[in-house]
Symmetry: C2
Subunit: 362 residues, 2 copies
């Protein structure tokens, strides 16, 4: 096996111990004579996994029964619809803060199909180089909720302190930075995240919501699209993506064994610093997209002086065993995603490569 | 590894070659130095898998570009909502034929939340022992569609010839018998199926629909819930359950290598016969739930004279290496699911066990 450093934006690198365990027991889960892939979601074994995974998320976030954790399907994209379907009644408005041209805008556009949504802040005119400052927000007096995207994979920005929304309910798409740093989840009414960046494989969506919200969801929404349906059934209303939840649970176990969110937060800070330092010492050769105060610890995005050089960079990096560095197809450039399972060594290798590439081409 | 025969109703037994390949390449997909679980859904490798899987489903069903095959999330349960959201306009009615108390009834109830749905046939009063006969159907003159459930896992019944719906559009939930026998898919406007019984793991939903329908879907539906969205993006509008589609593709490869649907249809017929024969030669000890003309080749359901005996049966069968035989929690009794990947040997082992259990307890 050729070793590579995988900088994919998601699906992304997974912790080696989780993958190794999944492989070791893929044909025979705990001596049951069958794969976890072949087991009923109603089996005691799977119910244990499901319960463990919920407990682990709550433990990592320090949450008690005031919150529920659900494992759903459909990714953040389905949450873009489920949130307003459940919590945006016809007589209310929802505030959306836009921090990137794809995910937060999509969330806003989807909400507009369902009810009244308005833009309560946006850095679009600055090409999404940063998240808005508090004084730039224009919140409704009494919105159904305020929606933010905590980390923006495409532009490489991240909220480093949460907006103050007063008593308004804060909802966040945390697909690309959940469980990557300490989080005061109690500030949020609802958090959702696709698992495929920091927590597991694609095909599982984690939803964390305040238990008190469950009775407030709209009753005319299709049963399968109500959070209350899934909460009542412990995420087993319909057949869950069992292998995805199983692997999520292994990754959560790895996060706990690694020291939890405080430790991962420090590691992720140190990892990102290594790559940002390479940008900052390059003169103007590597040009970070994000303003320093909004720099994402998860996705480092930068341009080179010419597109041809960017192609060469990606090609040579790939040859050197660093893959997944091409920027999002909508913006181009370079993007290095440094999720939980990316090692410090991978970041150091990338920084060294950047230095060397600059030396040869700068 | 203890060998067991896995009669789970779904998630269910998978073809050993597919699982073995998944295990062998789990840490390093085709020498790429990373797991398929870690690869971008926009990578050339995954796009190849995605394209291959669509082509295989179409080839197995003999379909050309008149149909599209989509790989979605959310299972049949989400399709219960998506079908009427897309294809049941406010001025039309949809006909539902009820053949079981859980899946077809749930599909009907979900449609009623979205538009006007009516029951155009039901065998509920006969405790769903069979599917309706043609003369028992009461179809609307011009419904948006007629919905059926092709195989009923809980009651163990199956449609062996399709209802004649004239020019009306037929929609089928084929979650539990798709790709288990030859199918004239052109009779259907739309077919949907969770993958976790005959095709792969849970977490992937296969939708096969007439291409001409794509322009007819409602435009007010959330983007993520429109079939047109997914068709336009080749099932890559949002991050797909990549591992699920990968494993689905391996199972489809196995189906093709096994001789396709004609061969699987014969095997499944022979397998079910072995178990039904054990019921039929038992006097009245094993009492099949389904009427013989509606017997499912996928799920053989039967009762024993007493509940205590049923518990003993499940316990002794489990000890003998035959697992997953408990009936659905809503009806009790015994259920043996004999999906594509269940071997004839497994069915013979079960039949022998049934004979012996009868000898000792009859």
């Amino acid at each position: 096996m050729t070793h590579v450093y995988n900088f994919n934006a998601g699906p992304a690198v997974l912790p080696p111990p989780a993958l190794a365990q999944a492989q070791a027991e893929l044909l025979d889960y705990h001596g049951r004579g069958m794969s976890i892939l072949e087991m009923s979601h109603r089996s005691a074994d799977f119910e244990t996994i499901n319960t463990e995974a919920e407990a682990r998320v709550k433990r990592l976030l320090g949450l008690d029964d005031e919150y529920r954790v659900l494992f759903l399907q459909g990714g953040a994209s389905l949450q873009f619809a489920m949130v307003p379907m459940n919590f945006l009644p016809p007589d209310r408005v929802a505030d959306y803060i836009l921090t990137d041209g794809s995910w937060s805008e999509r969330a806003y556009e989807e909400a507009r199909l369902i009810g009244e949504a308005r833009i309560a802040g946006s850095t679009r005119e600055e090409n999404y180089r940063r998240v808005p400052e508090q004084h730039q927000l224009d919140l409704s007096p009494d919105p159904a909720y305020v929606h933010i995207t905590s980390n923006n994979t495409i532009y490489g920005t991240q909220w480093h302190s949460w907006p103050d929304v007063g008593e308004r309910m804060l909802v966040a798409d945390m697909s690309s930075d959940i469980l990557s740093r300490p989080l005061d989840a109690r500030r949020f009414g609802l958090i959702y995240a696709g698992a495929q960046k920091n927590m597991g494989p694609s095909g599982v969506t984690v939803v964390i919501l305040r238990t008190s919200l469950l009775s407030q969801g709209a009753k005319t929404v299709p049963t399968i699209l109500r959070y209350a349906t899934h909460a009542k059934n412990n995420s087993l209303y319909n057949t869950p993506p069992t292998f995805g939840v199983y692997l999520l649970n292994l990754v959560l176990e790895w996060i706990e064994a690694s020291g939890g969110l405080a430790e991962l937060g420090q590691r992720n800070q140190a990892k990102a610093q290594v790559v940002y330092d390479a940008i900052d010492r390059s003169g103007d050769f590597y040009r970070g997209h994000a303003e320093p105060t909004s720099r994402s610890l998860m996705n480092v995005t930068f341009r080179l002086p010419e597109e041809a050089l960017e192609k060469q960079f990606v090609k040579e990096a790939t040859a050197a065993g660093m893959v997944g560095l091409g920027g999002h197809r909508s913006v181009g450039g370079i993007r290095a995603s440094l999720y939980n399972a990316m090692s410090l060594e991978g970041c150091q290798a990338l920084a060294s490569f950047m230095d060397e590439f600059l030396r040869q081409n700068g």
